[in-house]
């Protein structure tokens, strides 16, 4: 999901850079306030860990392999503000040292992967943790939150590409969302398993960071929420709001000027091309809604499978199945 240079234009890069700078500034201030000095090196080491962890390949069916992205996992392990700093650091080093992601696009990448992915993922994770107690609940919540965060980051990325005019929204949104709905399943699975492995070996590492300062967390999340909303209003809302009239303008554009061009989506007849594209957006939204229900069910099953009832330390809180 690293956007290279040249894929987003000046206005998108500038808007994303402003939002990301504010977000990272907020995160740095928060971290400085709440993190004891002896945990400062942990930020750098966590960033190095995230980079090394992204190089571990998990085999997927068919000879392909996937790897962890990790924003939500780091947020669950260290808290949201520290996660924003850690993921931003990884992105900066990847950009300058390994040319993974562009310099101009750094703001956009930070917004998608550090802010949307970590903070939204963390918010969903905490919300679900209220309902599902115990280590099994945490594993379930993290698996689902990581999936949601991956898909949302992909949608935000699609919005930026579309606003820049690189790829039309009618192509970018279905393509990015569908692909990342599958990638997200792997991400959720790996995040949950790694989280479980850490919480079994060193439970103190997790409780130390995430159980402190409940009321502050809400205010912190509200501020990020405001930023994310602003970003979504800029990158995605123009497309989402103009669906009814957008149909006409798209019809005009595709129907008149490019009648003879090759349709992107296989359509039974040229006349079906425009409804086909519009249908793809609606279908993707619908699939996303259905997908999130399915994934939540899968996450519940995963929790059951990974944490058998007798081994969970807090199993007395769990309702009997």
């Amino acid at each position: 999901m690293h956007i290279p240079d040249g894929f987003i234009d000046g206005k998108t890069a500038a808007a994303a850079a402003v939002i990301s700078t504010i977000g990272v500034g907020l995160a740095l201030r928060q971290v400085k306030r709440e993190l004891p000095p002896r945990r400062v090196p942990l930020l750098g080491l966590s960033a190095a860990f995230l980079f090394a962890a992204q190089m571990v390949n998990f085999p997927v069916a068919g000879g392909t392999s996937g790897h962890l992205v990790g924003g939500t996992l780091v947020a669950a392990l260290l808290g949201p503000s520290a996660a924003v700093v850690v993921v931003t650091t990884v992105l900066i080093v990847q950009c300058f040292l390994f040319q993974d992601g562009g310099v101009m696009a750094l703001g956009a990448n930070v917004f998608n992967m550090a802010i949307v992915n970590s903070v939204i993922g963390y918010a969903i994770y905490r919300m679900l943790c209220h309902w599902l107690s115990g280590i099994r609940g945490q594993v379930t919540a993290l698996a689902f939150a990581a999936w949601c965060a991956t898909v949302l980051a992909a949608i935000s990325c699609a919005g930026q590409l579309a606003w820049s005019g690189t790829i039309p929204w009618s192509v970018a949104f279905p393509a990015m969302t569908t692909v990342h709905m599958f990638i997200g399943v792997g991400e959720g699975l790996i995040s949950a398993m790694v989280f479980l492995a850490v919480s079994r070996a060193r439970p103190d590492l997790i409780t130390e960071t995430t159980q402190t300062g409940q009321p502050q967390r809400l205010g912190e999340l509200m501020r990020y929420g405001l930023l994310v909303t602003l970003g979504i209003a800029i990158f995605i809302a123009p497309f989402a709001c103009s669906w009814p009239d957008g149909l006409d303008s798209v019809a005009e554009k595709f129907g008149f000027s490019h009648k003879l061009a090759v349709p992107l989506l296989p359509a039974p007849a040229p006349d079906y091309q425009v409804p086909g594209i519009h249908w793809a957006i609606g279908a993707t939204a619908l699939a996303g809604a259905a997908g999130s229900l399915i994934v939540f069910g899968l996450a519940l099953l995963l929790g059951r499978w990974l944490v058998p009832r007798q081994s969970g330390s807090a199993s007395d809180h769990l309702p009997n199945p």
Binding site: H2, P4, D5, G6, F7, I8, D9, G10, G25, L28, P37, R38, V40, P41, L42, L43, G44, L45, A47, A48, F49, F51, A52, A53, M55, V56, F58, P59, L68, V85, V86, T89, I92, V93, C95, F96, L97, F98, Q99, G102, V103, M104, T166, I167, P168, V171, L189, I190, M193, V194, F195, L196, A197, A201, R202, F254, H258, A261, V262, L264
Partner: protein, 204 residues
């Protein structure tokens, strides 16, 4: 496994480009990238100018063109993917060549700078601009321990491979997840030792 593409031994070589001040290189690179991204498609002269400047810099820096080409191929699957999508897109056909040219040029600029400048110098430049100190510390620590942790995860991978027979896929994923979790635990234990060492040397 991928330790050799991680290594940046080129950044410590010697050439006229290596000897230029890091701030100058970063400034020029940033300027070129910004103008290239913002340039309209019609500015052929600019793109050709940047390309010839890059070729000149490459010759002066004594980096092998094959090395740069390899880096470009490793990094560009995403660029290729979007270019292919755009090539089939009726509205985007005029656009795709420009996107490809722009991203390849920018990629080359950053590759050249990062392979002719040691990372510590880049950090020093960042420190002299107004980047917050906490972020600089984090970046510096990440860069310092990046290779240590990559080596450590490679050792753990080898240890696991020599001890486990490959059974079902679900066990495979579980062991891999345990390895990653263990890597996090080791990283945070190392962080505590580093803090003690930093304090012993008079940090803050």
């Amino acid at each position: 496994m991928s330790a050799n593409w991680l290594s940046h031994h080129h950044s410590h070589a010697d050439s006229p480009i290596h000897r230029l001040p890091a701030a100058l290189k970063l400034g020029v690179a940033l300027m070129i990238i910004v103008v290239t991204v913002l340039a309209p498609i019609r500015w052929n002269a600019w793109f050709i100018g940047v390309a010839s400047l890059l070729v000149l810099a490459m010759l002066l820096s004594r980096l092998s063109p094959i090395f740069l080409l390899k880096r470009l191929l490793v990094l560009s699957p995403f660029v290729l993917g979007v270019v292919v999508v755009n090539a089939f897109q009726p509205a985007g056909r005029a656009n795709w060549l420009a996107v490809a040219v722009k991203s390849v040029l920018c990629l080359l600029v950053v590759t050249l700078v990062s392979n002719t400048t040691p990372f510590s110098r880049i950090l020093r430049v960042l420190k002299s601009t107004r980047v917050p100190a906490l972020l600089i510390t984090t970046i510096a620590l990440m860069h310092r321990y990046l290779f240590v942790l990559v080596d450590e995860s490679e050792r753990m991978r080898r240890a696991r491979a020599s001890r486990t027979f490959t059974r079902g896929r679900r066990f495979h994923w579980r062991t891999l997840a345990t390895v990653v979790g263990q890597l996090f635990i080791r990283a945070s234990e190392r962080a505590e030792r580093i803090y003690d060492a930093m304090c012993a040397r008079g940090w803050k």
